[in-house]
Subunit: 280 residues, 2 copies
């Protein structure tokens, strides 16, 4: 993390059972943020870390689908028990309520639900909790970002101009809140034809590279638009877990190594302050 | 619209200068809703209709980018003047404020801004106003949908399981609000290799077809994932306008014909009640 000094003094509050919290955000929806967040969690787990994954998209909780976990979370001693999937400790609104019908919760209810999942889940000694934020830079992602004692954030974008413009707003949001940004992951960078192998930059070229230069944030890696990652996601068998030797998995595992290195370098201490839990 | 009877008695309020209002919604972000909404507006214009286009994504107003309109809306007699682009009367938060920094408006402010754009724009005899809704089925799209006197809605989705599951929630939202749904448009249905022409269903097959069967709503058309539509969008030159003979444009123009036919059949009257404008 040579490009920008990281402020490690913010977010003094800590959550019981969690050392670091990394938010995965995107300015725009549909860039593959949830899929990247899940596979990033598995890549960090492959580094020997104990990882939690919190799906903060209250209205459209996709992680339970990506994990194929159609269960309800148990409650023991007034704490939600995280649902174990592929070794990850996971929590999602999909485990707490019936999500087939559209949710019509107002903003404050969403914020409360998020805080309950974050603070009232019995996380079991997580080295890092990955929070899969809702897309956008609106009211809800902003509120959730402010409620969570984040160590740092990672930004996911596609190379498309519209997506990088929105990702830039996401970066501005994290900077405003003094949350260090570990890097940018470019998803859907190119597509390789399944027949002839021709690589096509369907969503344009170099979008995230230019964004990284402009914002002085490191580009951690580029992932292709691929049926392989879409199919494994739709089937609830994340590519890093299912096919660790796949070239996409290797890129994701490399990103995991980079993030682990940055955490060790910039956030070595295991802060142990117990938080004041105030659910408004 | 043989599949489902349309209730034409709802939404008695009308907006001055507008005959019909069609909302373009999606359960999931990033499915190309804004691009489809813009090209659909142009396809309806090609039917000889006078069309307005309202970008209701307050946090991430993309239409101004898609239209390459970097102007500010004029105010005359306390009414916003729509910005003319490709013959369309358009309105977007991007014309009203500086949008480079992330917006941190709370829900009620978003609702108010939307109503101002909808009710206080000097729409000039629009046959149809297309509203490009924000993605999702959360608080904000729900509130905006309730505030607008919609004639009907159109749903955009990709074939991916995650997207159709969210689109189904969007359909449930419109049904709950008794807004007739004219049909589903499947975007990113397949990709044709730029070199060998091989068609690949990157996001899966038949997602929208199955959704249409399940919900008893017509599938209006399928659009490919294509560099052509992405490039024309990024360059602010919508494909229907720039390349009307392109096969994607032909599909969009055909969808426009279907929607015009449904409007003429089910909503023939030009209701002329002037609305009670109440901006809360």
């Amino acid at each position: 993390m040579s490009q920008r000094p990281i402020n490690t003094t913010t977010n003094a509050h800590k959550i019981s059972g969690i050392k670091h919290i990394i938010a995965v955000g995107s300015g725009k929806g549909g860039v593959g943020k949830s899929t990247v967040a899940l596979n990033l969690a598995l890549a960090l787990q492959a580094q020997g870390m104990r990882i939690g994954l919190l799906d903060a998209d209250i209205y459209g909780p996709n992680q339970a689908h990506l994990l194929h976990s159609k269960v309800q979370a148990e409650v023991i001693d007034n704490r939600y028990q995280p649902v174990l999937a592929y070794g990850l400790q996971t929590m999602s609104m999909a485990y707490l309520i019936e999500v087939d019908s559209p949710m019509i919760w107002r903003g404050p209810m969403v914020s409360k639900a998020f805080q309950q999942m974050l603070f009232l889940t019995a996380w079991d000694n997580c080295d890092t909790l990955i929070i899969d934020l809702p897309p956008g830079t609106g009211d809800i992602p902003l509120t959730l970002t402010k409620k969570a004692p984040l160590t740092a954030a990672v930004i996911v974008t596609t190379p498309q101009t519209l997506a990088t413009a929105d990702a830039e707003k996401g970066i501005a949001m994290f900077k405003k809140l003094e949350v260090p940004i570990l890097g940018i992951i470019e998803n859907m960078s190119y597509h390789s034809c399944g027949k002839c192998g021709h690589q096509e930059h369907i969503f344009g070229s170099d979008g995230a590279t230019l964004l990284a230069q402009k914002t002085n944030i490191e580009l951690l890696g580029q992932l292709p638009l691929s049926s392989d990652i879409r199919q494994t996601s739709d089937n609830g068998q994340p590519i890093v877990y299912q096919y660790p030797d796949h070239h996409i998995s290797k890129t994701l595992l490399d990103i995991g190594t980079q993030i682990k290195t940055k955490l060790d370098l910039h956030f070595p201490s295991n802060r142990s302050t117990f938080p004041d839990i105030v659910i408004e």
